[in-house]
Amino acid sequence: MVKKAPLLNEDFGIGGVTTRVRPHAMGDDLHTDTMVLNLGPAHPATHGTARVSAEISGEKIINADVEVGYLHRGFEKMCETVDYNQVIPYTDRLNYVSPLINNVGWALTVEKLLGVEVPKRCQYIRVVMSEISRVCDHLTCLGASAMELGAFSAFLYLVQAREYLWDLIEEVTGARLTISYTRVGGVKEDLPKDFDEKMKAAFAGVRKHLLACDGLLSRNRIFMDRMCDVAIVTRDEAISYGLAGPIARASGIDYDVRKAFPYSSYQDFEFEVPLGTKGDNYDRFYVRMVEVEQSLRICEQAMAKIPQGPISIRDPHIVLEPKEEVYKSIDGMINHFELVIKGVQPPAGEVYMLVEGGNGELGFFLVSDGTGKPYKVHVRAPSYIHMGIMKKMLIGNSIADVVPIFGMINMIGGECDR
């Protein structure tokens, strides 16, 4: 195939912003030329490395080119070289704002291939941790977008709210950002004893700060003027471009993986899925606001009826034996060595498993050839697919809208570029 140069790539320059005047066809003396403005890849407002070359006429963007891939580090190739449990630390680095959802997604994929189901307590723990992660994801997105529109105090409130949750996550998993909490067939450790009380205290803090930000932003005249009716995505466009998650729901698509294809006992919980009506930036913002509250609700329900029991399946070919067995019995030691050296050995086959990530449907397509390492892994990364519509959203809007549009797409470099 002929290598086609990107549309506006001839304007690549050195330094932050390069401009070049393109002579207008009419050639009259009035300044009617269009100009190419290059934003990124290391622009402070593009939290993530993506480049936008916008052809502008005055303030208005008349054509744009979006380039991703600056953070590509070969996730899928790396997965082919390690065993199934060793992939879990790599999944942390996909969507690093909500790493637990990626962990859960990968563990569920391998478990589906193995044909096992984890105990109920483990499923509930995974739900709680996924939802806390989702809240962190939404809070980061909302806070960063608010900051980029000048509302710095809202950013501080929301990051403080996220801090409560990160403390909670640290309590459970021992890490704040790259967590690697799940294992194939279970989770690493049980919840601490006083988790319920600490969670309630943290959620009270989150709710307090969220309420403050709702007051600061949701009906703020300046904020609404910037967000309302900007970059409208209709329902049909959203379907055609394959959008999922909060962005798709802002356009009125009633699709949520947790409702449509419940995994890990999501059918046990009562929660609502907010839908926008217009599909503009404000809807995308507000859907996330509402979803935070729903996620907190799910966590509280899960903690109210979490059953006692084991946190992982007892199969020595899938999960490591408890340490007492390893040190005290010969069988336990053999099983431990077998599993560490050979890894989990699922049957040959192809499996697709989907979970609701922070940005939408996160899917893992896994091909196994029956050995201890995956033959092929493909990640259906929502951020990558959402970047496909960005060009369409930009055209017709002004330069100042680039940043809020990009913020509401919530592109996470690690997930987009893998």
């Binding site: 190739k77 055609s240 409702k259 899925v273 519509i389």
Partner: protein, 215 residues
């Protein structure tokens, strides 16, 4: 709670839906399987179920007809393209690559995996861009990673790798720690203006006591 208000400001209304719609069940897959058999009668297809997922394997020559039927048929109505990728079966020389499409119908929540085998000598397949706009990025990625050509897609380019990259990294014969040749300077005619900046001379830090004694 404070946030759940169905009606907000005049122009912004939110609807909220609750309850489960539909889950993947055996009957769901059977229904879809029967539907596809009747709709695609006369085509060379094979259907199988793998891990609760219906898999449709088709021939390369029927690609356009079948995809347009899957998208445009009223009962099938696969309006949502989930993902496109490929599998490299290095041992199968005649049909080395398998392009894998995941489709979904948002109304009935039917899910389908379509697989098309393409040979190594001519890894070309028709684009599905007219049916789903999401195919643009996904086909670009598949070309970038596997070297599958998508006939009819005007803007297939290196999405994740850089334009000068040689080879296709997810192919099984691409080494895990492969080295790439160095990229020559892309725009040598563009002058680096940073070099023209005049450096201010370094400020000499003199001894404080000396200064005082001089004074």
């Amino acid at each position: 709670m404070f946030l759940i208000k169905v009606t907000r400001l005049n122009q912004h209304e939110f609807s909220i839906f609750r309850g489960c719609r539909c889950t993947v069940s055996v009957s769901n897959i059977e229904n879809l399987s029967e539907l596809i058999k009747t709709k695609l009668a006369g085509m060379q297809i094979s259907l199988s179920v793998e891990f609760d997922h219906l898999v449709l394997t088709i021939n390369k020559k029927d690609h356009q007809v079948i995809f347009s039927a899957l998208k445009n048929d009223q009962d099938l109505g696969f309006n949502y393209l989930v993902s496109i990728t490929a599998i490299d079966w290095l041992d199968k020389k005649d049909l080395r690559f398998e392009v894998v499409y995941h489709l979904m119908n948002l109304k009935t929540l039917y899910r389908l995996r379509v697989k098309v085998a393409v040979p190594e000598e001519d890894p070309t397949i028709d684009t599905v861009l007219p049916h789903w706009a999401a195919a643009d990025y996904l086909e670009s990625e598949t070309w970038d990673m596997y070297g599958i050509n998508f006939r009819g897609n005007p803007d297939v380019r290196r999405m994740l790798m850089y334009p000068e990259f040689e080879g296709h990294p997810l192919r099984k014969d691409y080494p895990v720690q492969g080295k790439q040749p160095r990229v020559p300077m892309r725009y040598p005619e563009v002058r680096n203006t940073a070099l023209d900046m005049i450096r201010s001379p370094l400020v000499q830090i003199t001894n404080k006591k000396k200064l005082e004694s001089r004074a």
